[in-house]
Symmetry: C2
Amino acid sequence: MGAREKLTDAMSELLWERGYAATSPRDVMTRAGVGQGSMYHHFAGKHDLAVASLSAVSGTMADEASVLEDVEAGTPLERMKAYLRLPRPGTRGCRIGRMTQDPQSVTDPDLARIVQGAFATMLGRWEDAIAAAVAAGELPGTVVPADLARTLSAVIQGGYVLARAEGDQAPMDAAIRGAVALLDATSASVDPSARESRAPRERGDQEEGRS
Amino acid sequence: MGAREKLTDAMSELLWERGYAATSPRDVMTRAGVGQGSMYHHFAGKHDLAVASLSAVSGTMADEASVLEDVEAGTPLERMKAYLRLPRPGTRGCRIGRMTQDPQSVTDPDLARIVQGAFATMLGRWEDAIAAAVAAGELPGTVVPADLARTLSAVIQGGYVLARAEGDQAPMDAAIRGAVALLDATSASVDPSARESRAPRERGDQEEGRS
DNA sequence: GTCTATATTCGGATAGAC
DNA sequence: GTCTATCCGAATATAGAC
């Protein structure tokens, strides 16, 4: 593994753990195990390195959200719940969302654009899945996809905040359970006559218990 | 206004804007308009000043959440929605929640305890209001107050994250609208026979699930 | 390409005058 | 109580040797 990749990997970790402002070039070089000259040879400076590292992280997060549009994974509502239930290390926080609280990250146009793009991608996938769920009669027609997409995305992001505040994974899991329960109750309120015709099985087999 | 109060006010603002790690004693003194000697006379150092300032902020936030238990403000569900709809400056972020992303704040036992206490107070009020809503038949008996409290608290905290990510208030408002809509739909799904504890009818058919 | 040495500024705090 | 002067180390980067 070349020095360049070692540096971006180390920077990605440190951005996650400490954020941009609190990460010094020294820290990165030490963790990457390369000398100072290597870093300034491959990158113009801390900023340049952060842009490269955060871009890579943003890509992997976008991939994760593809569960929402994976038709193989079940009905739209099932995919929404599956995405909500993906394992998330609450006490470590979100690698992208964390940046929004870093004053320098928000100010920096390059970093801000990366964060904004990551959220735009995820929200777009949420909206598509929600609209599909409405079309399939899994959610009532009164649901506004753009609103609910932000609500559910906020539950995840807020779950990270709560988990970090308490230093415990439990609040994150509880927040997700509560959101799934709201979705189930909302789904149950759909007028049966509006349901999609190609999934005409009995209702009531969706009650999967989570402890 | 004495130097001490000027310092805590300035520190509170800077903690909000930049967090703990990114705020230097110099910044605080400059904004407060006092000399360096004054600061080290009234406080042992940056840490001591931050503890005093954050404690004050935590108190005002707890006061705000008292809407949830203000019986004058309406039914439990109405109070929940009223609290969700309180005006919140999304792009500025939450004064308490922001601390959870500051590496030094989470590490520091004193600061961490303040943040943890603020969330504990708020979550407790949420749980009480939700339990009251269930008791009043405004929400179904299947609702788990501890879970839903964290879900709704997460919507608010996540709303801040989304708003900051996009540099726009709109995502915060959308997230709140979506949450209120979910609550309304869930409320509508309550079995009418379980409503209004003043005129209690037979209960117990909630166990059969939502079919 | 990678290293060590060196500048420069800032963060955080102390000392002591007024 | 409040101020200015000053110290020490870290953050960020440049210079130039190997």
